[in-house]
């Protein structure tokens, strides 16, 4: 496993470089000059402007500027928020745990829903159970998170009054009550995100199990006299999970998109809502920082998926 992990990390590094290059290109191509204001200010003499441009390396060739920027990013020098006067990395670090908690919880919910339903659907294809849940999956898949979030708020907060619809980070209660209040306010965001992913995972699990269940080794396992339950759980599901892990990793960017929307609807103080606030207030360093963090998170989750993959199918880690 050790060398396999090293190899995966070595493969992940170029993609991180690639993403940073894409980010930098977007930034460099954008119209507008950071020194625009100076250029129009008559109090700043032309030679000072030229000196400043040289000092900040604005006239260097583009690859040199990219290199400088990358070095600064790697050393944790992410700049300074124009609005809140705090270092960008501090600001992001405060917000990341909430986002990760919401995303993590929703992944668990999605897994708990999608795995059993997907497996049962595939074991009895075209049964009533399969038809109903396949249709529901397509419905859930077509219900955008921003609409399902509003529907849940309408039902549970406004009509029934059971759950709060604004997430509060500063709950003063302690002990059990603290946990209870947090659970109540996290329930809707986690469900919105979890159900949306469960809908697409269900389809993946179903088709992956259907592919495996026809194979010869499954017939062999059955003819050995193993119980159907053991055949499905030990022989079919474990082998079906490998393609599912890949597909789940591929959908990670979409999950982060959903998280941004969910954070915005329920006003959760995570990095998604930080990003939106920063855009609405033209806070460029924060925007760049958050986008970069999202990219790193995608790469990180891909890496985790690769590790799971190696665990599910040990042949891969020896190749």
């Amino acid at each position: 496993m050790g060398p396999y992990l090293m190899r995966r990390i070595l493969i992940a590094l170029p993609s991180l470089l690639g993403i940073s290059a894409v980010l930098f290109t977007v930034l460099a191509l954008a119209p507008g000059d950071p020194f625009e204001e100076l250029a129009t200010n008559p109090n700043v003499p032309a030679e000072v402007r030229v000196m400043l441009r040289a000092k900040f390396g604005l006239d260097d060739p583009i690859w040199q500027r990219y290199f400088h920027w990358l070095m600064a990013m790697m050393q944790g020098d992410w700049g300074y928020s124009f609005i809140s006067r705090v270092d960008v990395d501090q600001l992001i670090l405060q917000r990341v745990p909430v986002t990760l908690a919401v995303i993590g919880a929703s992944q668990v919910v999605a897994l708990l829903i999608a795995l059993p339903i997907g497996i049962i659907s595939a074991v009895k294809p075209y049964s009533w159970f399969d038809r109903i849940f396949s249709t529901l999956a397509l419905v859930g898949f077509s219900l955008p998170t921003f609409f399902s979030g509003l529907l849940l708020i309408l039902l549970f907060s406004i009509t029934l009054g059971w759950l709060p619809f604004v997430y509060r980070a500063d709950i003063s209660a302690t002990g059990w009550e603290w946990w209870w209040l947090h659970l109540k306010q996290s329930l809707m965001p986690v469900m919105v995100l979890g159900l949306f992913q469960a809908a697409s995972w269900m389809r993946y699990v179903r088709s992956a199990v259907l592919d495996v269940i026809k194979l010869d080794f499954v017939t062999t396992a059955r003819s050995k006299g193993l119980k159907e339950r053991v055949v499905i759980m030990k022989h079919v599901v474990r082998n079906a999970l490998t393609p599912v892990v890949t597909l789940v990793a591929l959908r990670m960017p979409a999950v982060f998109g959903g998280a941004i929307v969910t954070e915005q609807i329920f006003r959760i103080p995570g990095i998604g809502s930080l990003l939106i606030d920063a855009i609405l207030r033209n806070d460029t360093p924060v925007i760049m920082g958050v986008t970069f963090v999202f990219s790193c998170l995608v790469i990180l989750f891909n890496l985790i998926a690769d590790l799971l993959y190696g665990w599910l199918d040990p042949r891969i880690s020896f190749r």
């Binding site: 980010l23 954008a30 119209p31 397509l138 509003l150 406004i158 960017p253 929307v261 925007i287 995608v298």
Partner: protein
């Protein structure tokens, strides 16, 4: 059998009841959106404070918003934009995807490797944050050049298209890999056909099935992407009511005017759902791997 492949595909598509029903419903939505404003002649920006936040009635079938503007007229108008964004972004994605997939599929070696690396890179980009970043950086420039409506339209379509070509490219590449070894391609080559001719006349038409399926689903994805941007307040400007934008405006009035959010939300949901069902039916009809 003597039936053309398209008739055969239609026969298989018809067996998917939900897809057939969805095709009818989507046609109705499209006709309503295109012809609706001709019949329902209420201006989208007619302000009437007397009818502020009114519930649905005969005068306003979907009620009114906080300025007393007719939501039905706004939903019809927004539908045109949402559907146009979906279609044009899909065409962009298909064009780029087919181009890259075809180049990668015809050339072996480092060109293929490089293009697939690029595809994988784009697949692992966090799309929504980047969409937001690009729109934030380029919005003002394009608005100044093309005006607020066209500028934002071009920007949104380009950006969504540029972030959704990857699955198509992978599909096309895989199709090319298997098709270019087939006997009929070899026969065409033996007859002296040039590579562009082989690609355009022989391989491309045969790899169209999965591309059509992917394209259908891309329309739904693009509509969701545009609505998401508008819902976050970063898509079209407030005076252009797309479905997502109406939802964005309505979300602070959920408790007193739920109809304001429900109708545009339902419009997005129904459009996306019917398109996805049609995609499902087309997959049964066109994807040769799943012949029943």
């Amino acid at each position: 059998m003597g039936t053309s492949p398209w008739a055969e595909a239609w026969r298989r598509f018809r067996r998917h009841k939900m897809a057939l029903f969805s095709l009818g419903l989507l046609t109705a939505i499209v006709l309503l959106v295109i012809l609706g404003p001709v019949v329902w002649r209420v201006a989208i920006d007619e302000i009437d404070f007397a009818a502020r936040l009114a519930r649905p009635s005969w005068a306003h079938p979907m009620g009114t918003d906080d300025l007393g503007q007719d939501i039905f007229a706004r939903v019809l108008y927004g539908g045109r934009i949402s559907l146009a964004v979906g279609l044009v972004a899909m065409m962009m994605a298909i064009f780029v995807g087919v181009l890259i997939g075809a180049i990668a599929g015809m050339s072996r070696g480092w060109v293929d490797t490089a293009l697939m690396w690029l595809t994988d890179l784009f697949l692992s980009l966090p799309q929504l944050p980047l969409l937001l970043l690009v729109i934030y950086l380029f919005r003002d420039g394009l608005k100044a050049r093309f005006g607020p409506e066209v500028g934002v339209f071009i920007l949104i379509v380009m950006v969504i298209g540029c972030f959704s070509w990857m699955p198509v490219a992978r599909l096309v590449r895989a199709q090319f890999f298997s098709l270019r070894e087939k006997e009929f391609v070899e026969a065409a080559r033996a007859l002296g056909a040039s590579t562009p001719r082989i690609v355009v006349r022989h391989i491309l038409p045969n790899s169209l099935g999965p591309v059509i399926v992917a394209g259908t689903i891309d329309v739904a994805a693009a509509i969701i992407a545009e609505s998401t941007l508008s819902f976050l307040g970063l898509g079209f400007p407030p005076d252009i009511p797309t479905w997502g934008r109406i939802l964005f405006d309505s979300k602070d009035y959920l408790d007193i005017a739920p109809h304001w959010a429900l109708f545009p939300g339902l419009a997005i949901f129904l459009t996306v759902l019917t398109i996805n069902f049609i995609g499902d039916g087309l997959r049964d009809a066109l994807d040769p791997r799943k012949v029943m």
